[in-house]
Symmetry: C2
Subunit: 223 residues, 2 copies
């Protein structure tokens, strides 16, 4: 195995074993390189790789630190990876969202605060009559994120965040600019909010399912 890969494994080992804990500072590059028995250049490759997936946080002029290792932070890397997927797998991603999102909505039902419901409602109302694709994407993202956030499961939240990042959503909405599709989707958003307000978990779950399924069906019918 290459020395760089060894270094990645060793650093991973130090973190997993607890020798390095979240927030800890690593020895400076030259020392760590000597310690692991490789050159500073090769070590930098390892550090850079771990930095890309948010395991390490390097600050020029300061030092290299272990991140908080929060699920949110780590799964954020998922978003980066998802961006590489080709359009032909968007339906598979949507199918997974169709599983997770209703469940998340049901989980959020008894937990979401009235203030948050008000905020989401206001956000829907703020959308003008002729929204741009960018506005739709941002609104859609914020709406679902707000609900999932209230599910109380940070792994679930990060996963859905990553799976339906800006790229994926933009792909979907780009195809949804037809008038009726947009208005129907926004209507479904309102229905989900109403069910949450009634604390009716089963209705909220069903509306979430219907919402995703309708998007799915729309995508399937238009090549």
């Amino acid at each position: 195995m290459a020395v760089t890969d060894e270094a990645i494994e060793k650093i991973k080992g130090m973190i997993v074993s607890g020798a390095l804990r979240p927030g800890d500072r690593l020895p400076k590059e030259s020392e760590l390189a000597a310690e692991l028995g490789l050159s500073r250049n090769s070590l930098r490759e390892a550090v850079r790789a771990l930095s890309l997936i948010r395991i390490l946080d390097v600050r020029q002029g300061d030092g290299t630190y272990v991140t908080s290792l929060d699920p949110q932070l780590l799964l954020e890397a998922l978003s980066f990876v998802v961006d590489f997927h080709r359009d032909d797998t968007v339906l598979e991603f949507l199918a997974v969202r169709r599983i997770l999102e209703p469940a998340a909505t049901a989980l959020a039902c008894p937990r979401i605060s009235d203030a948050e419901l008000d905020r989401l409602q206001a956000q829907l109302d703020a959308l003008g009559p002729e929204p741009s694709v960018e506005e739709l994407v941002a609104c859609d993202l914020e709406f679902h994120r707000g609900i999932v956030q209230s599910s109380g499961n940070s792994v679930l939240r990060s996963l859905l965040d990553g799976l339906s990042g800006p790229t994926t959503r933009a792909r979907v909405w780009r195809g949804l600019t037809e008038e009726d599709a947009v208005s129907r989707t926004l209507h479904e958003h309102r229905a989900i909010l109403a069910a949450l307000r009634d604390r009716d978990a089963e209705a909220a779950r069903s509306w979430a399912t219907v919402h995703i399924a309708s998007v799915e069906q729309w995508l399937r019918s238009t090549p």
Copy 2:
């Protein structure tokens, strides 16, 4: 932004835009470095980072290639990331599995082949009366993987694979060595198989839920 990060973005852009397609070979390091306007060392850091998450595949003496970009391959990186999570989030991961796994089992119900069912059955039967933790983990992993594989959704498959990798599962099973917990879990495996054989999706889904919930409950009751 650092030149290396720029390089990562540029290479990502080349792939997402279609200029580089799966299987394509990149220009050699020195050329690509000149093209992107940075040194070979810095470029190597970018390539190494993208290689860690399976976007690129570097072969010494040959060249650097874009991977197949299959969902399976890309989400495989998820497993690496998940390994870093601390034990206190294992319940959140399990909660997500509890959502995904029953759905995957239901999806697999009409699709899984008799041959695959036989294979999984044989594997369960092959487990001795005093299995080691390693054997239990391997068996558990293969059982669920076999079912999820038959769901027909490669994103779902990869996601569950990544979420419940060896590390996570080992953590769970390490706490499950008590006699009755093991036998009960294995019994649930058999029940899931039986439901699949009957092509009873609702029963299969419920057994899968019960299966995960019981593990969850067990973990929750033992600090």
